[in-house]
């Protein structure tokens, strides 16, 4: 019974495809791909609508106010109202803007975010595109984001847009490196770039209770924290939303966008957030596996989306809690702290592997991480060289 509930979506797809059983092979292939794409879009656009209202609700709760509560029960229809508002707004394109590039940029951003969502395993046998180098695909496609942001800034033909795009690109480039290097230990330990294999490698339970997720190893835990912070920066979320600090500067590369194009940027940001959180769940939190063997009755996709929503809640929580960081502080942290720690994770994972993946490996890798952390915190101690900030190019 629980198995059929677990596979209900897979079976539904097979049932749909059985209607085409007599048609040529390529048609079935195309239909299968289209069903996957349709499901992906349906699920994540619904989740986007849901999270946009939930975020405002949670932020409001944390700031001791009500939040949206006028449209529908508990303000749940707010996304529909927002969507209609965005759709009927005037679409303003600057007269001297590059019309085509100005249009393509938000579309490219959203497309990239949706493509990266495609390689994540959402449940048992539920990976939309299961390719051999899935993790590489995620980052390869994701790297087009920078080009899209640049296009937005350049095509607007506005100094502020261009400067905002530069800031965004500088930030994304510096954090892409730690993001990829924190993935490396997992890929090394599993020996595969395929997300399904990475999930399968975390399937077992110690004593049937403690799951063997990578987050429970010292290197995995460190890498998870670093990955989460880098993902926070990549998706331009508070406290790292420097590219468009809503309350301080103009909206960065989105300055000259309005109406539905602006909404598309917004959507791309959220989809990117889902993709990074989904990858974090896959890599470190055991993907769709249940936290203990007895809970395997609950379908796998439920577990995946529960873990995803926990991470999304942390995103919102951080947004309500933390102030925005300064650009130079953010860059310093990336290059001086996160990058060396990420390399330490790689070494610790290797130590863990060669010390037998048991308790001994666990302690040795903890030792490596602790040493690197201590050395870094002594070297980077800012209290000793506290001085007024120097502006190199603005004097």
């Amino acid at each position: 019974m629980s198995k059929s509930i677990d596979q209900v979506f897979v079976n539904a797809k097979h049932w749909l495809l059985s209607w085409l059983a007599s048609s040529p092979g390529w048609l079935i292939q195309v239909a299968s791909i289209l069903i996957n794409i349709f499901m992906l879009l349906a699920v994540f656009l619904t989740l986007f609508a849901l999270i946009s209202v939930l975020e405002r609700k949670i932020l409001a709760r944390m700031q001791n106010r009500y939040g949206p509560n006028r449209v529908g029960p508990f303000g749940l229809f707010q996304p529909i109202a927002d969507g209609i508002k965005m759709l009927i707004k005037e679409d303003i394109v600057p007269a001297r803007a590059d019309k085509l590039v100005h249009f393509v940029s938000p579309v490219l951003l959203a497309a990239v975010a949706i493509l990266t969502l495609g390689v994540i395993p959402y449940g048992r046998n539920m990976t939309p595109f299961a390719i051999d180098g899935g993790i590489l695909f995620f980052f390869a496609v994701g790297s087009a984001t920078e080009l899209a942001v640049f296009m937005a800034g350049w095509a607007s033909n506005n100094k502020f847009s261009m400067l905002g795009a530069m800031r965004a690109i500088a930030q994304m480039f510096s954090y892409e490196l730690p993001l990829i290097i924190t993935v490396l230990p997992v890929v090394m330990v599993v020996g595969s770039l395929m997300p399904d294999r990475i999930v399968a490698a975390q399937a077992e339970y110690t004593f049937g209770v403690v799951p063997r997720w990578f987050v429970f190893t010292p290197w995995g835990f460190t890498a998870f924290i670093l990955f989460f912070v880098s993902g926070l920066v990549e998706s331009n979320r508070t406290p790292f939303d420097v590219p468009e600090g809503e309350s301080e500067i103009v909206a960065g590369h989105m300055t000259e966008y309005s109406g539905f194009k602006y909404a598309t940027f917004f959507m791309a940001e959220y989809l990117g957030m889902f993709a990074v959180s989904g990858l974090a769940v896959t890599l470190f939190l055991g993907g769709w596996h249940a936290p203990a063997r007895v809970f395997e009755i609950v379908p796998s996709y439920v577990w995946f989306f529960m873990k995803l929503s926990v991470l999304l809640f942390v995103y919102i929580w951080l947004r309500a809690t933390l102030p925005r960081t300064r650009v130079d502080q953010m860059m310093n942290v990336a290059w001086k702290f996160i990058l060396p720690m990420a390399f330490a994770c790689v070494i610790a994972a290797a130590v863990w592997h060669y010390a037998g993946r048991g308790l001994r490996g666990w302690l040795w890798s903890l030792f490596v991480i602790a040493i690197v952390y201590t050395v870094l915190s002594i070297v980077l101690d800012t209290r000793r060289k506290f001085a007024p900030r120097v502006y190199r190019f603005a004097e």
Binding site: G133, L136, F139, S143, L147, F150, E176
Partner: protein, 160 residues
């Protein structure tokens, strides 16, 4: 199906390449160049060489295209000024084309029937890189590290 995909990708790639070569605006040309690279990556996917295709997208679109675009932005002075048709460039391009065509046509291997394509998995690439080509790999690693350190020294603050 794969030949139909080949034709579609070929048309797409050639159109993008042509646009990259002929468009007036340098920035549009650079963006079309990125599109050409997407087409090339699609060819690698079609041949079952996923890793190479993904590496192409990763390095060329994620890094090189952005680098080109920034270079154009930071160096361009006479924006919109028509520089005329560059005949020397055409000649050089034609010479390169002739040379490439001649060398492709005269190689022996083109007459050999291609063996059945084995999917080039990441694992096989890793095995080859870490076994037969471990020295070149290490040398490239050292070179890239040196380049990284050089870049860091270039942007380092001067001591006062």
């Amino acid at each position: 199906m794969s030949s139909a995909a080949f034709v579609i990708i070929a048309i797409f790639t050639l159109a993008a390449a042509l646009a990259a070569g002929t468009l007036r605006s340098l920035m549009h040309a650079a963006l079309c160049f990125a599109l050409t690279l997407v087409g090339l990556a699609a060819f690698f996917f079609l041949l079952g060489a996923e890793f190479v295709g993904l590496a192409l997208v990763f390095i060329y679109i994620g890094a090189v295209a952005v680098l080109i675009v920034f270079t154009i932005l930071l160096t361009q002075r006479d924006v919109g000024k028509d520089r005329g048709f560059n005949w020397a460039g055409v000649l050089i391009a034609f010479a390169v084309f002739c040379g490439l065509t001649w060398s492709i046509l005269t190689t022996q291997s083109i007459s050999i029937v291609a063996p059945h394509i084995r999917a080039l998995t990441v694992k096989r690439i890793g095995d080859v890189l870490m076994a037969s080509y471990v020295w070149p790999l290490q040398c490239v690693g050292v070179l890239l590290t040196a380049a990284l350190i050089g870049a860091l020294i270039l942007v380092m603050e001067e001591k006062r």
